[in-house]
Amino acid sequence: MIPPEGIGAARRGATGDPPRIDVPDLERSLKNVRTLFSALMSVVTVTASVVALYPLFSVLYLLIVRGGRRLGLSLFTELPPGAGMIGGGIGNAIVGTLVTVGLAAVLAVPFGILAAIYLAEYGDGSRVAGVVRFSAKVLTGMPSILTGVFAYAAVVVVTGSFSAVAGAVALSILVLPIVMLTAEEAIRMVPHKMKEAAIGMGATDTQTTLRVTLPTAMPAILTGVMLSLSRAMGETAPLLFTALFSDFWFEGGLGEPIATLAVLIYNFSGSPFDNQIDLAWAASLVLVAIVLVINLAGQALTKRPERR
């Protein structure tokens, strides 16, 4: 990197009288406009990146400091406090989030995988597959609140009440296209020669898919499922006027309103009572923890080498 002493010296010595041979100056120097510009841009860009990452650390810090304050057994076992009351917890909201997202998974995951099998295997290259893929992409781009509007119209209006099912329907529309598109990708990744081996042994298409292709693609499919579910956990907008909220424990009533962490955070964020605001932070901490655990677990599935 560093040029021999002589070159620069020769150039410096030559400043008095014009040099016979113009020896280029190879030393790095900030006086050079081009170098200065380059260095400046690097500083700006790296600074911008640090600024971009600051919010994450700020959020995590506050979650731990403010949310951590209320971390205790009662957080998980008690019901949310009313206005002006002290204590309480978010137990029903944790249960409710798991129930709603679980129900959404039941609705969307088999649907998505079956459609993905069609896209990647049986309908590959067909016009229907093209339209289906396009529809799924449109659904991915659909604002989450619109799935809530749809579930309101299709479930709440029809059944006449806000319910866990309505919330799950709204979430499942968000989960469906992600599962479908990642599962399609995963199925396409299965080496063709493996499918060929099964077909060559006289397996029917279904047997090839169910016994060879799907098991091989399963880790990657599950990654997609987990990522989409972790996203659904944090969704609030689709639940506001579908699942609504409930101050009570979930007792199996899927046709009734249900509490969720996301809606609890939203409701309590505007509260004038410190107790409720503290619980909003604690609920955020729990929500982010669940989301991150599912997210990381999902990613770990595909990073692990072949099982068995």
Partner: protein
């Protein structure tokens, strides 16, 4: 083993009727679910559309140009919301887009040792994993207090500019846009990083070989080559920003007015839906459905444009290989 038992020709046998039936049924089933995706999308559009029809007949185009939202007088107009949606999304896009591209450059042009690069990539992904309602909470308790001081100063000294001509009373366009920009940043960063990584190495080598500095290479070769992909990323991020609900509902102030001042409260289509739906009566629900339809149309158009740009970007890249 060697005592050659009778040849077990019986092992391989043609598929049974049941196997053939199961095969047909399963193939049919996947076909049905594939079709169901199309039907679902059509059903969603139909359902929102049909509930909006009464309001569309009632208010027609005045709905889009009206500026009042009053359920008691049954007067509905969403111009402030449309403007607020576009304004907040644009500001978020300028800030989040610039930061996102910067992150993408740092992550793709060898600024960091591989370990740090990998770590930072994961951190950006984490940024995307945090639920928007948590960002909203953070915005209320961190962003609003933080920007209050600078906002006051700007208003005092530059109040003659339309952007600063009101005071920040709490929630408003600026804090909402700032939080929104953080939420679009990971999208921009991830997609434009991919576009930059896809720039063939030989092009960069050519620039370095001609004696270009790192930044001359980035600005002269990498960014222009990846520009279509980056632009597509920005448009897709715009689509996401338009539909983002919670952070805005919590931070934008929910005032049915629109002003250019960054410090005034405003509203967006998505947060209008979030705030009014739970308690809406029959007539207002119709108007909200109409608003939802407007939002659908806007995001659909933006997303289709974004996807088309991405498709063109990737076909352009193929020519380079």
């Amino acid at each position: 083993m060697s005592s050659a038992p009778p040849r077990a020709v019986t092992i391989s046998r043609p598929p049974s009727a049941r196997e053939i039936f199961v095969n047909r049924a399963f193939r049919g089933l996947t076909h049905v679910f594939a079709w169901a995706t199309i039907v679902l999308l059509a059903y969603i559009l139909f359902e929102i559309g049909s509930l909006a029809v009464p309001a569309m007949n009632e208010y027609g185009a005045d709905f889009v140009t009206g500026t009042t939202w009053d359920a008691n007088r049954e007067e509905f107009g969403v111009l402030p919301e449309i403007m607020g949606t576009l304004y907040t999304s644009l500001i978020a896009l300028v800030i989040g887009g610039a930061l996102g591209v910067a992150v993408a450059i740092v992550l793709s042009q060898g600024f960091l040792p591989p370990v740090l690069e990998h770590l930072m990539k994961n951190i950006v992904e984490l940024l995307a994993a945090i639920p928007s309602v948590v960002y909203g909470l953070w915005g209320i308790f961190v962003v609003i207090p933080t920007v209050r001081g600078p906002a006051e100063w700007l208003h005092e000294h530059l109040g003659f500019l339309p952007f600063f001509d009101t005071r920040l009373s709490g929630p408003g366009i600026l804090p909402a846009s700032l939080v929104l920009s953080i939420m679009v940043l990971p999208t921009v960063a991830a997609i434009s990083r991919e576009a930059m990584v896809a720039v063939p190495h030989k092009l960069r080598e050519a620039a370095f070989g001609l004696g270009a500095t790192r930044w001359e290479t980035i600005l002269g070769v990498v960014l222009p080559t990846a520009s279509a992909g980056i632009f597509g990323a920005v448009v897709l991020a715009f689509g996401r920003a338009l539909g983002e609900t919670m952070a805005l509902a919590m931070l934008v102030g929910n005032a049915n007015v629109f002003g250019w001042s960054l410090f005034s409260p405003g509203n967006t289509l998505a947060s209008l839906l979030a705030n009014h739906f739970p308690e809406a009566g029959r007539v207002e629900v119709g108007a909200l459905m109409y608003a939802a339809l407007v939002l659908t149309a806007i995001t659909l158009i933006v997303n289709v444009i974004g996807s088309l740009i991405m498709i063109r970007a990737s076909s352009k890249m193929q020519g380079l290989r």
